[in-house]
């Protein structure tokens, strides 16, 4: 019996899953068009969709500040369970995107200083 997946490494999630998800979201209009074209293009679109789904699963399974996530979700739960659930599900992705933004900002600043 499958009792559920195991957590993944933060490094993998940060360097593979998050960029994939972000690029997928940005390219979604084009992918939607691909899906309406011939079989090879549609197959490609389906594979990219599958990659997006698996990346999102990896992001959800990763342990990013779990206590803080649960603490805040728990307090929100008293006010609104749906809101608490949304916060809980979005938490990992939001933190990862912020990490990417921070990394890009630091890299940009470093480049500026070097140049």
């Amino acid at each position: 019996m499958d009792w559920g997946p195991r957590p993944v490494s933060l490094y993998r999630v940060f360097t593979r899953a998050t960029p994939y998800v972000l690029l997928f979201i940005m390219a979604y209009p084009m992918l939607a068009l691909l899906g309406r074209m011939g079989p090879p293009a549609r197959l490609l679109a389906e594979r990219l969709n599958e990659g997006f789904r698996k990346s999102m699963e990896m992001i959800e399974r990763s342990q990013i500040l779990p206590k803080q996530k649960c603490l805040i979700s728990g307090r929100l739960f008293v006010l609104s369970p749906p809101l608490a659930g949304l916060f809980f599900r979005a938490f990992n992705l939001v933190v990862l995107v912020l990490m990417w933004v921070a990394t890009a900002a630091v890299a940009g600043l470093a480049c500026t200083l070097v140049l």
């Binding site: 559920g4 959800e60 728990g74 739960f77 659930g85 599900r89």
Partner: protein
Amino acid sequence: MGLNVARIREDFPCLCQDGAGRAPVYLDNACMTLKPTQVLDAMMEYYTKHPSCHKRAMHRFGVMTTKKYARARSVVKEYLNAPKDSEVVFTRNTTESINLVANSLDLAEGSIVLISDAEHNSNLLPWVFLCQRSGLLLRTFPVRPDGPFEGLQEYREWLETGKVKLVSTFHTSNVTGVTLPIREMVSLAHHHGAMFFLDAAQGLPHQPIDVRAPDADFVAFSFHKAFGPTGMGALYGKTRRLVELRPFLVGGDTIEDADYGSCTLSPIPERFEAGLQNYAGVIGSAAALEYLANVGIANVERHERELNEFITEELAKLPKVRILGPPDAASRSSILSFIVEGLDSGELSILLDKSANVMTRSGVHCCHAWFHKYDLPPSLRVSLSIYNTLDEAELLVRTLHSIVKHF
């Protein structure tokens, strides 16, 4: 006569606390139960009226402590229906009781120690270390995560090898709540010349335990799971078994006389109770067993089963929930362990605590080997007691339903 839960709750001061406007819902009783005022008062009386050691001191305080210490041993003997007071040894907990026997037994090299594959680390590691040290062999019979216990055949096959000299197993699993057919297992063990050590840590607070039936050679339990203080446990042993043990912890009170090369051991059980004891703990432990006897173990069993049946029935409606152990709540004592697909049990435990003040336990429950063997993720465990109410069970179920729906 049923349980008057409202009246019982008045005995537990910590249930009157208010955490952020919500009463605490304590569902971690398999780890430790709450303590009634009767136990706290008994312990405080020791410290305020006669705080001294027993036996050694001839003054008034010492005499009082000696009497209460002896009386406490009698209370335990009566509760277990043991033949003699001297067959009850006070220890710090079940873990120490098992270690005491494991470190004091003298078994021939090549003998088999047989345990279930679902033992708590406290009933696994002492035997692992013993086997590594003494050339014994450790073997297991299976307790599968799904369904009722079906490992009796394999248990019998091990015994029929003739090499098993000791069986050590739980009465009730701290993970799944399944109760083993102990009478039959003890009978089989004795028939094949093996001793039987019963870990009754989860069994004693919830079901009747009579050491004469199933007639185990050793029975260990912890008082902190039976409304008693932490740091207290007891080991029952048949006289002929206890006298065979070589004490591994020696010092004050374990000997009658000593010189620089030898000593005369005290009779049992004193030879196993080294140094100054936890007198408040012993006296409080006796008060705990008296409290439990007053409530009535049949009432405890019935109340916990009813709550467990309700929670099980409600959780069974959730498609993402998988219950560990027998699906029938009546076979799981006061325990319900489950996994929610897609939700980490640690996160779920924190969510229940923060959102509804519901206290549960998550993880592998000190059964690492079993979780690894069956490739299970950590589970959430709910464990009930006499002060839990139907309202609390409904709150747990309602909160879980909402979490599964929205998270």
